[in-house]
């Protein structure tokens, strides 16, 4: 892959916090598209057809949606259009007010933050001034920064609706969540008196190191690296002198501490840069005072202020002197224009890479919490089953190394000196179980019920039509680090350490489970060994706290892999009915897509965030899930009148958002259906897409991925393509698949082109596209769960058939197309297009349209005992 070695900085970083790509992206720059392609060792030149921003915006604005919500969708698009128009002024268009209600209202009188003030004379440190070459979408809002009274230079910035791109706040359900911690009047007053309490803080130490608290999870997506890069650039500080730590649960952040919907960089890039820029300005001012020179003559680089006469002062030496004696609003600053950015946009290795390759990166169970003993839970034979009677607790307590056996709501826990002994103890338990919530349910039942959940299409009048149906099996999140948490519960307080995407809701739930007020629970967020949506749920934290409380000692609680797959979360199974109507001449007139999904459990705060983020009520009769579906599903094509609907089947399975949520199945189904439609209309699948995509940016991505579409391959091998646009980003996957043995298909090559707006870290973007590719290969070809009498049969990676090296192509190229658009989301972007590309390649290679995924889904193993 790309030959550029990681910057030296990355190598010094030891235990900085994690980081990486998923999020990411950043603002733009002026040149519309140089594509920095890095991928397998080849450097490609880029290209990117000229893309007219305006066409991008307006094209999108026209996409037609299902009826009923058009009003809302249109207005969102309206603001988006403004965003992309490149004129900051437009961003303050009349639509903006609809997303402005800031959940954290309290702010001092000195924060005139009016969502729409940027034009005003005060126009404070707006990140980018309207005329800034930063171009598009910038300058629409200032980000208020504060100099905070502290021993060394400390800058704080608001995060929230006012710091967000307007469309981000309204269009993503992710904003964040916190239900039961909504402030009462007293809280509001307290917060009002402390305007900096709910801010993001950047501290510069006398060691010359900047430390930033990130109110998000790092789960491998590369967010900490991207955030460190943003700071490095704006502060002129080497990357290895920036430490990004994950914030503990901070209830005052309300809806701004939830990691999801690929929105972290979209939400944070501006405030993070503003904080760094304010800190840099303060350092310059401090040096100028000290030297008695004009600040305008001073420059910064490599963590020091430089005077024209050669004098320099390291930031560390200025840190204490630059500290504010009392908290005040920081003077206005201007963010660097894209052309002056040196770190952002440069492919950069993860800041925690060295810690990872030396085994020093710590996950929850690697932490040294004094006295915390291993604990594992024996779980019921069916999902949501209950403990009826434990027969041999005393005998198990007597086993070697076993310290305690305690009953909790979800099973029976064994605490021991080692996990090996806890595991042996739990296996030795004899327990009678009460019924679960879906004991009779099996895979085929669910499939049949889903098919009946949405009505079949009636024959259309007067026009021709093409119909297809697709089914997707449930898929385990299966992060490599199983569900786990450390908890130390005392009489009057508790401390928890775990990987968490929604720590505020998690803290409240833990508190409730052990009967303490949330204020008595310290909730530390630890870097995750993968997530894919799994860490939105905090069941391990609750269990660890319950076990710690019952056993009267701190515990390190871990789920076994078997339990993680069987009792953990899963992407809900879905069924899709699709229809395109068209004229006799082959012109599409309409696309209808009816999705049936087992109810998705969003009880982790997203629902509350969504409610808070919406400025209009959902359409009459619309459920939360339908709102979320509507906000995430868009067809990138002009296929005439388009209606995409969701109907949920209420079954109490352990479902949850799985990377790319609805799009991972629904948009994948549309992309495969599109191939069928093209074929039936006698069109080439790539050309068919190309002519119906709405914007130049979309076409640029498709073109970059399909330059050698149609090249000669042996019989039994074929190319397949998939496209997806979401999170203000777009991607196309081309894969080549060898299905000469249809039972042993192998993706042999992939070409991926992605446009995420300005990519903060192109290397991180590329990593996320590679991850999407692997997820696409796995879930299209082999990975899935068979629900059988109330429990999945799969209990290991080999049974679940998640992709391994032998399933992964040895030839991959990723083109990261640079653009001057606002940064879009990245982490979840790839999956739908990758799934579709693999499915389409399989169909073309074998001549068989597959209706049910994964394609190869035999139970080829002996399930573990229940």
């Amino acid at each position: 892959m790309e030959p550029q070695p990681p910057p030296a900085a990355a190598e010094h970083t030891t235990n900085a916090e994690p980081s990486r790509g998923s999020g990411h992206a950043e603002p733009s720059r002026g040149s519309g598209h140089a594509e920095s392609s890095r991928g397998s060792g080849r450097a490609e030149s880029s290209q990117g057809s000229g893309r007219a921003e305006s066409s991008q915006g307006s094209g999108r604005a026209e996409s037609s949606q299902g009826s009923g919500h058009a009003g809302h969708a249109e207005s969102l698009r309206g603001s988006e259009r403004a965003e992309h128009a490149g004129h900051a002024g437009h961003a303050q268009s009349p639509q903006t007010p609809q997303i402005t209600p800031s959940p954290q209202g309290p702010q001092g009188p000195e924060s005139p933050q009016g969502p729409e003030s940027p034009q005003g004379p005060k126009s404070p440190h707006g990140p980018e001034s309207p005329q800034s070459p930063e171009g598009s979408g910038v300058g629409r809002r200032k980000v208020l920064a504060y100099l905070v009274a502290a021993p060394t230079l400390t800058v704080a910035v608001r995060v929230g609706a006012d710091a967000w791109a307007p469309e981000a706040a309204a269009a993503t359900p992710e904003a964040t969540a916190l239900p039961d911690v909504l402030p009462d009047l007293g809280d509001v007053l307290i917060l009002a008196a402390a305007p900096t309490a709910h801010l993001l803080t950047l501290e510069l130490g006398e060691d010359g190191t900047a430390r930033f608290g990130l109110p998000r999870a790092e789960v491998g997506q590369g967010l900490t690296t991207a955030v460190a890069m943003l700071i490095a650039d704006e502060l002129d500080l080497p990357l290895d002198r920036i430490k990004v730590r994950l914030d503990d649960a901070r209830p005052e952040l309300l809806f701004n501490q939830l990691t999801g919907s690929s929105n972290s960089i979209r939400a944070l890039h501006r405030p993070v840069r503003a904080a760094a820029a304010a800190a840099r300005a303060r350092l310059i001012a401090t040096a100028a005072r000290r030297w008695g020179t004009d600040a305008a003559d001073l420059t910064t680089r490599e963590g020091a202020v430089h005077a024209p006469d050669g004098r320099t002062l390291d930031y560390g030496a200025l840190a204490a002197r630059a500290a504010a004696p009392r908290t005040t609003e920081a003077p206005e600053v201007t963010l660097k224009p894209a052309g002056e950015q040196r770190v952002v946009g440069r492919p950069t290795g993860r800041i925690d890479a060295r810690a990872i390759v030396t085994g020093r990166q710590e996950y929850a169970l690697d932490l040294d919490v004094p006295g915390a003993k291993p604990a594992m839970v024996r779980r019921p034979p069916t999902v949501n089953g209950t403990v009826a009677k434990v027969h041999n607790a005393a005998a198990v307590r007597g086993m070697a190394g076993v310290l305690d056996v305690v009953e909790i709501a979800t099973g029976v826990a064994v605490v021991a000196e080692t996990f090996g002994q806890a595991l042996a103890g739990k296996d030795a338990l004899r327990v009678d179980w009460g019924p679960g919530t879906v004991d009779e349910l099996s895979h085929e039942d669910i499939k049949a019920r889903l098919r009946k959940t949405v009505p079949d299409f009636l024959p259309p009048l007067l026009v021709r039509h093409i119909d297809a149906e697709y089914d997707f099996a449930p898929v385990s999140h299966a992060p490599l680090e199983t569900n786990s948490a450390v908890a130390d519960v005392r009489d009057d307080r508790a401390t928890v350490w775990t990987a968490a995407q929604s720590p505020i809701a998690a803290r409240a739930a833990v508190a409730k489970a052990i009967g303490l007020p949330p204020s008595r629970v310290d909730f530390h967020v630890v870097q995750a060994g993968g997530s894919f949506g799994r860490r939105l749920f905090y069941d391990a934290a609750i269990e660890a706290a319950q076990v710690s409380k019952a056993a009267g000692r701190p515990v390190r609680l871990m789920w076994s892999r078997v339990d993680d797959m069987r009792h953990g979360r899963m992407r809900p199974p879905t069924h899709h009915k699709l229809r395109v109507t068209h004229t006799r001449g082959g012109t599409p007139l309409s696309l209808q897509h009816r999705t049936a999904s087992v109810e998705i459990d969003a009880g982790h705060g997203i629902g509350d965030a969504l409610t808070a983020g919406l400025t209009e009520l959902p359409a009459a009769g619309e459920t939360f899930a339908q709102t979320m579906f509507r906000l995430s599903m868009r067809s990138p094509y002009d296929l005439g009148a388009t209606a995409q609907t969701l109907t949920e089947l209420p079954l109490k399975l352990h479902t949850g958002s799985w990377r790319s949520v609805y799009s991972g199945t629904a948009r994948a189904a549309e992309e495969m259906f599109l191939d069928e439609v093209a074929e039936q209309l006698g069109a080439d699948p790539v050309e068919f897409r190309r002519t119906r995509l709405r914007t130049a940016a979309q076409r640029a991505v498709l073109d970059a991925a399909t330059r050698d579409w149609g090249r000669e391959l042996p019989a039994g091998c074929a190319q397949g393509v998939g496209f997806h646009e979401e999170y203000k980003s777009r991607v196309a996957y081309l894969v080549e698949l060898d299905a000469r043995d249809p039972k042993e298909p192998r993706v042999t090559r992939a070409v991926i082109a992605v446009d995420v707006g300005r990519a903060v870290n192109p290397r991180g973007v590329e990593a996320q596209m590679l991850g999407g590719l692997t997820d696409g290969i796995a879930t299209a070809l082999r990975a899935g769960l068979h629900f059988d009498k109330g429990l999945p049969l799969e209990g290991s990676y080999s049974q679940f058939h998640y992709a391994r090296q032998k399933d992964s192509p040895p030839d991959v190229t990723v083109h990261v197309i640079d653009s001057d658009a606002e940064p879009g989301g990245v982490g979840e972007l790839g999956v739908p297009a990758a799934v579709a590309a693999v499915g389409n390649a399989y169909a073309r290679a074998t001549g068989t349209r597959v209706r049910s995924f994964p394609i190869l889904f035999d139970v080829d193993f002996e399930p573990f005992p229940r």
Partner: protein, 152 residues
């Protein structure tokens, strides 16, 4: 409880543990060596891959009694002080890791492979069965090839 004496990362250790306690838990829970990760406990995911007398093994499936007087190397013992092993260097060069949880095992598997063959073929790399749920396989492959070039 029986005492077991063996070498870990160059140091001799003695632990009291049942004979059948998997080495993984001896390392992680008794010795505090936490580079090797749990991912399945049954030698399927390979996240704990370490070396026993220089060959790749999965400590989750090796009873501690089997390592008496033998030499165990975990990811922590791979580098020479601050000087990384060429495979670790290659991992940095390719920026392989995402969540990083499987990478100690991936690296130990790659080191073992490169001990068996100086320039592994794609088929030999395919045979590494360590699961990476983030899907970093392509970069792992590139890093192994890069390391092979560095070491030749």
């Amino acid at each position: 409880m029986p005492a077991h004496t063996f070498t870990v990362n160059g140091e001799q250790v003695t632990v009291d543990a049942p004979d059948d306690l998997p080495l993984l838990w001896v390392l992680r829970d008794l010795l505090g060596i936490r580079g090797p990760k749990y991912g399945c406990g049954i030698d399927v995911c390979k996240a704990c891959t370490s070396h026993l007398d220089g060959e790749a093994v999965n400590p989750c499936a090796v009873p501690v009694s089997e390592v008496a007087d033998r030499e165990v190397t975990t990811i922590e013992g791979l580098a020479d002080g601050d000087r990384l092993h060429p495979v670790q260097e290659a991992w940095l060069e390719q920026d392989v890791a995402q969540c990083g949880y499987c990478q100690p095992g991936q690296i130990m598997a790659a080191v073992a492979l490169l001990r068996r063959t100086k320039s592994p073929t794609d088929e030999e790399i395919d045979a590494i069965a360590n699961v990476c749920r983030c899907g970093t396989y392509f970069r792992i492959r590139e890093a192994i090839k890069s390391a092979a070039a560095r070491m030749s």
